[in-house]
Symmetry: C2
Subunit: 458 residues, 2 copies
């Protein structure tokens, strides 16, 4: 490794290569909390060309590397493993261009998502990608993990918003596909090799993202429902009446909702009674007065039809914030639950009822004192099942059971958090041996020495 480090120093200068005691703790782990190793060396690239030089040196020496952005991943993909050099893209930050006519924004990989959002906003446009880590997570990271968020039902995940990108292959080849057009069928659409492959096939250095017009009106309602069948009816009703103006359709089971409104201070339930299910529905469009009328008339009809037991339409953004505080209360709730499995799975919407009806009794039978908290972005097929008995020792078995049932219902063991290292052992529940073999074929073809984020995903 010393030879590699001296080549890196010769090529990039001493300032770009941090070694030994100078390596800070921030390069050690990500938001997964996975116990990582402090890397012996961190190389901070300043440009695509520098990334290419670094990879060329490492690839020749078959030196394994781990790629680091904002370190907000929660599947442990960016956590260093034995013998790896860390390549950090934190210095490659900044907006390259906002093209207002083409409605695109181009940014360096190390740019925090929030900076991109703000640049779009300043240009009078809107980037429909948002998540709690917005201030820290970076363009490269959201692209490499195909990050989701709360508006996927309408705008899709990151993959749908990336029009073009630039990436570097392990041998230092720069793949520049900075496409800005909606339609482009000139050959294979190579960007999809790099989106969602978690840094195992190349290092994303720039991305072109699609922007949208700003929505000028937001309607938010919290609905109480008698059963899951009604939840599906409400999804269908709102979606078919309001079209894809529906930007969020979040559902909370009573086991989650009741706990949050008791535990989290800012999360007060606006309902006097308790109900089995709650849905947070958000509708964004362009005409505030009309939207409000239409949205409330749809909800009123749903009450008349017996789909909704009760509903509160937010009268202000502040009130809507309270609803979102309940939905986002999971963060605070987790700190009170003790050792807990916090899963991020998908199940086809039509299978969700049967899935929960099989999973819940199975968990209670195997772990009589298990606490379950279930919520999710139902409109995106995405469920978060949190479960714990208070004992650290049960976590693996609980996780294995949830993942196993997910597989039985043709679900995904990772809806949006990726596989990283933490979910590798569950991948077979969602992907066939033939699919995994093809992933390995692609990995070998694009990274024959296996130096890039090796041991992640597959």
């Amino acid at each position: 490794m010393n030879d590699v480090i001296s080549q890196l120093t010769d090529t990039l200068g001493e300032k770009a290569v941090i070694t030994g005691a100078s390596v800070g703790d921030k390069y050690k782990t990500d938001w997964s909390g996975l116990e990582g190793l402090l890397p012996s060396t961190v190389v901070r690239a300043s440009s695509t060309e520098e990334v290419a030089s670094i990879l060329k040196i490492c690839n020749s020496a078959k030196q394994a590397v781990v790629i680091q952005g904002g370190m907000t991943g929660i599947s442990g993909g960016a956590v260093p493993q034995e013998g790896e050099i860390a390549i950090s893209l934190e210095k490659m930050s900044g907006i390259i261009e906002v093209d207002v006519d083409s409605m695109t924004i181009t940014a360096h990989a190390g740019t925090p998502l929030q900076v991109v959002q703000e640049a779009a906003d300043e240009a009078g446009l809107f980037l429909p990608l948002d998540m709690g880590s917005r201030g820290t997570c970076t363009v490269g990271g959201v692209v490499a993990t195909n990050a989701g968020g709360n508006q996927v039902i309408r705008y899709g995940a990151t993959r749908s918003l990336v029009l073009g990108l630039e990436a570097v292959l392990p041998d230092g080849t720069i793949i520049s596909s900075l496409n800005k057009m909606l339609k482009n069928n000139a050959g294979y659409d190579l960007k999809h090799m790099f989106i969602g492959s978690e840094g195992t096939l190349g290092i994303v250095t720039k991305a072109v993202m699609r922007l949208y017009p700003k929505m000028t009106s937001t309607q938010t309602a919290l609905c109480a429902l008698p059963d899951f069948t009604s939840v599906l009816k409400l999804l269908k009703k709102t979606f078919s009446t309001l079209g894809d103006g529906i930007t969020s359709f979040e559902v909370m089971w009573a086991n989650y909702y009741d706990e949050v409104v008791e535990t989290v201070e800012q999360a007060k339930s606006p309902f006097i009674e308790k109900y089995p299910f709650y849905a947070l529905v958000e509708y964004k469009s362009q005409d505030r007065i009309h939207d409000m009328e239409q949205f409330s008339s749809v909800l009123f009809e749903a009450i008349e039809d017996g789909i909704i037991a009760d509903t509160i339409l937010a009268q202000s953004l502040k009130e809507a914030d309270v609803f979102w505080t309940i939905r986002d209360g999971i963060g605070e709730l987790l700190t009170t639950m003790g050792p807990v499995v916090n899963t991020d799975i998908s199940v086809p919407i039509s299978q969700m009822k049967a899935f929960i009806e099989q999973l819940e009794p199975a968990l209670y039978e195997a772990f009589p004192n298990v606490k379950l908290r279930i919520f999710g972005h139902i409109g995106d097929s995405n469920l978060h099942v949190c479960a714990g008995t208070g004992s650290e020792q049960d976590l693996d078995a609980i996780s294995a059971m949830i993942m196993g049932v997910t597989g039985e219902y043709k679900g995904s063991v990772s809806a949006e958090h990726g596989i990283g290292v933490l979910k590798k052992k569950y991948l077979h529940h969602s992907r066939t041996p033939e699919e995994v073999a093809l992933m390995k074929t692609l990995k070998s073809a694009m990274d024959p020495n296996g130096i890039l984020n090796s041991g992640r995903v597959i």
Copy 2:
């Protein structure tokens, strides 16, 4: 080849293998009109397993195959070449499932697009993918070519609508990725290997497509504009006021419009005067009365602002059809133009004005008697430039000039028709040598014997 044919006959039965004089002309060419060879053998698969058997036999013998669906492609990808066996998927037709709760439809590859549209419609849902060839083109073909159509600005091309698929690799391995969920980050998203790669990496046998709520209101306007800057202003204004309710934004240059309204009988201009540009704008949503008010008020404002010179809002679907007849009049126009280059290119929206300002005088200088007809889906960055001098001999040079200027403006030499064989020579204008090399790496990894649609795309 005789050995291969006898193995195919043994495995699939005599009825599935057509040879010699029994091979019909329909297996000879596609809608490109490219002069093809009648294949010596056509194998008609009835199931995914049969496709796997066929490929296993052909791959072992290194027998080249060409994949055929509805034969509506216009880049010559499905046209047989010397020594190829044709694999037709025409018998693999039918809807497998409509999942109303999950809003998905699953169909066999040989199913005509229109059958899928109708099945979605019967289930109260909507497949937002449509094109003139709907009755003949098939699911496998639209997936393999990432077909576009008229509503890409809102719903994306086929790629955005495919949630999952099943495909067969050259060695007979079946890759079953029939995902029905919006969010799924469990490993590489393999479907993108098969979407838009024009049958060079695998044979698509089934696809799961995302359905949407039906739109209940359609507003259509034909606008006359003084210049291209106004066209861009109108695009921005309608998009920012009406959101992604805008489903089509089609622009016609006067050189196209004036000719169509004179030549095509059903295409009558509703305007008395002539203008430099015309835009056909369509807005679909859920509330007819409100939509009409909002749409007309936006257009009225655009007149007041001087963006639009004149506009007609369709008062009925019949009137809207007349506007679309003008837009779709290209079919009939082409029959009157003599030998003509009909290109399908993309250029970033912000570059379109400069692109045309460079291309037009260059063409007139090189070909003084050239006739130009320009129109396109501007909202999708997609332009169709039709040009001809009346002489067959000029076509190649005209084509080369248009493609060259497209490359200079970082455009795409194929917006939606794919590369096939006819556009291979222009690929370098839109893709770098590094990108093409990576495409070849992927091709070699997935089809090491190069038997699948070889000689297409790359």
